[in-house]
Symmetry: C2
């Protein structure tokens, strides 16, 4: 009972963290990430662009990688919050087309840099799975399960498999870049894969 207050106003003592500085840092980091790439961004450069001291960076983040990671997700937040509507196969098709659109956008390119940049950092990879991948898959799972329930997909459909077969090829071209990733490609995937999961 004596901890009830912490739920309502757990405001710590002392000077509060500057929300302005936090936003400036993440914004500066995102822009540098976009303009120069993951490895080329300097930590002092981020601080200078944000009009902030280097010390402030490392008061809140453990490493440059973590800053860039957070900067990416801060930016993607509104983009990834688009709600899913409709029923049957329509939302599934729309989801894949939107995913393709996102991956080729500027934000998608930045995310590719972050994705490859953090690949060897176990903690950040885990965070990526939790904060991005798992959330996205959850949406797709729900869509697919709905379509199964309405008999637009076979009752034996494995949602995990279908997600990977639909999204994997997009991811493949996104990172490897052996061929263009456009809406035509996304449609081709849908048109060839979905029939294999439909009841006859």
């Amino acid at each position: 009972m004596k901890e009830l207050k912490t739920k309502i106003a757990p405001r710590p003592r002392g000077r509060p963290r500057s929300e302005r500085a936090r936003q400036e840092i993440l914004e500066a980091a995102y822009k540098l990430l976009r303009d120069k790439g993951f490895n080329a961004v300097g930590s002092h450069e981020i601080a200078q662009t944000a009009g902030v001291s280097s010390a402030t960076l490392y008061r809140w983040w453990k490493s440059k990688e973590e800053i860039l990671f957070d900067a990416c997700f801060e930016r993607m937040k509104p983009i990834l919050a688009i709600p899913e509507t409709g029923s049957g196969l329509t939302p599934l098709r729309r989801y894949v087309l939107r995913a393709a659109e996102f991956l080729v956008s500027e934000e998608g390119a930045v995310m590719a840099r972050v994705f490859t940049g953090i690949h060897e950092d176990k903690r950040l990879r885990q965070a990526f799975l939790e904060r991005y991948v798992e959330h996205r898959r959850q949406i797709q799972r729900r869509i697919i399960e709905d379509a199964i329930a309405s008999c637009e997909l076979k009752s034996t459909t494995d949602p995990e498999l279908l997600i990977d077969v639909l999204t994997g090829p997009l991811f493949f071209r996104w990172l490897q870049g052996h061929a263009p990733l456009d809406k035509g490609f996304a449609k081709s995937i849908l048109d060839s894969v979905i029939p294999a999961f439909r009841p006859h």
Copy 2:
């Protein structure tokens, strides 16, 4: 005509490059890459492990990344040289199963590190496409075209699409690691995708 000799014995003057040093460097680089990861390997560490001077490294390679890149491909050369035999759908199924096997192997894990490690280096990405991707796709293209010719696949099959739909999901799990990449998964992909490309 006066350049004819260069084709037969273009041996330059001076002391020849040490083939032994070259191999020791690439071998040391591969082992360090395997044991410590792409970013954690130091250039002086490679030199020391190989019993070679740092200067020798940079006489032949432009950067540490290039050394690790070459070290990876030197090691993969024999693995990737396995010939393809058989006709019909068998070689296609076998290819996908072997690809899955390779990706989860130690060598596959090392290659993932190299792949992500060089992502922002334009020259090395291009080299990766030419030295690895294009070669692998060529093999798959031939297999698929054979299967089309023998009417085991629809005549309208787009080889590029089929390659991406079969391999993309493997690649997806390989790099993103949201779910295990094993033979069972590879079989599931084959069993669900191939029927969609078969003539009825």
